[in-house]
Amino acid sequence: MAAKEWHGVDRSTLRWHPIIDEEKCTNCGLCLLTCGAGVFGYEKPINRFFVLNPGNCTLGCTTCGKVCPEAAISFPESSKVFIRNVIKQGKIFPKVKEELKARLEKFPEHELHQVNN
């Protein structure tokens, strides 16, 4: 598998993933459903959901934590503080500029001209 990057920043050097409080977790599985990054796994023999691939977690994403009905999911630190440090230290904007150009080329209907927000 190719090295995971977040706007050019090497994902492998950064610690960002959900942490499940097993005391609170009721194993509803909504975290696995909501995650598009394949972070959660299902342990079939004991019918349990758990963090299978922490390194897949999208940097700064806390969606599973917000949808968890039991508030059983937390993260190593504040999402805002964490991701803004990554953005500043990683000097990502040249890469973002390239990605924006590519996105608008791929989805030309998203290129707008003087619309009022």
């Binding site: 706007h7 459903l33 009905p69 998203h110």
Partner: protein, 125 residues
């Protein structure tokens, strides 16, 4: 505009759910990070190439509970509804059988997320 694929959130009519980014054009510097942080499938944002500003094009495509674009906006130009318990209350209202149905399908489609034996597990206990 609402792609039928996103018309429901775990069985709940997406148009009844208040979740999506709002951009303050006065604060937006046009860096474009929000546009590319949002996935290609949902693609909530457009980009005004003349004004050099991000524009919310498809708020109903926004993933309920995701505010990654706002977290990463260094200029605090993006806001979401500030009631952090709103999404949790919605989650609690999803019928159990709905979650079970969706889980069955997702695990069938993603067998790599299913662990059959404890020996395969990273240590967690």
């Amino acid at each position: 505009m609402l792609d039928p694929f996103f018309s429901k959130w775990h069985g709940i009519d997406r148009t009844t759910i208040e979740w999506g980014p709002k951009i303050d054009p006065e604060k937006c510097t046009g860096c474009g990070l929000c546009v590319v942080t949002c996935g290609e499938r949902r693609n909530v944002f457009g980009y005004d190439v003349e004004a050099k500003k991000a524009v919310v094009m498809a708020p109903l495509h926004c993933m309920v509970g995701c505010d990654n674009c706002a977290m990463g906006c260094l200029w605090d130009a993006i806001t979401f509804p500030d009631d952090t318990e709103y999404v949790r209350r919605l989650s609690r209202s999803i019928p159990k059988h709905q979650i079970a149905l969706e889980l069955e399908k997702k695990l069938q489609d993603n067998p790599h997320l299913v662990v059959e034996g404890e020996s395969e597990l990273p240590s967690r206990r």
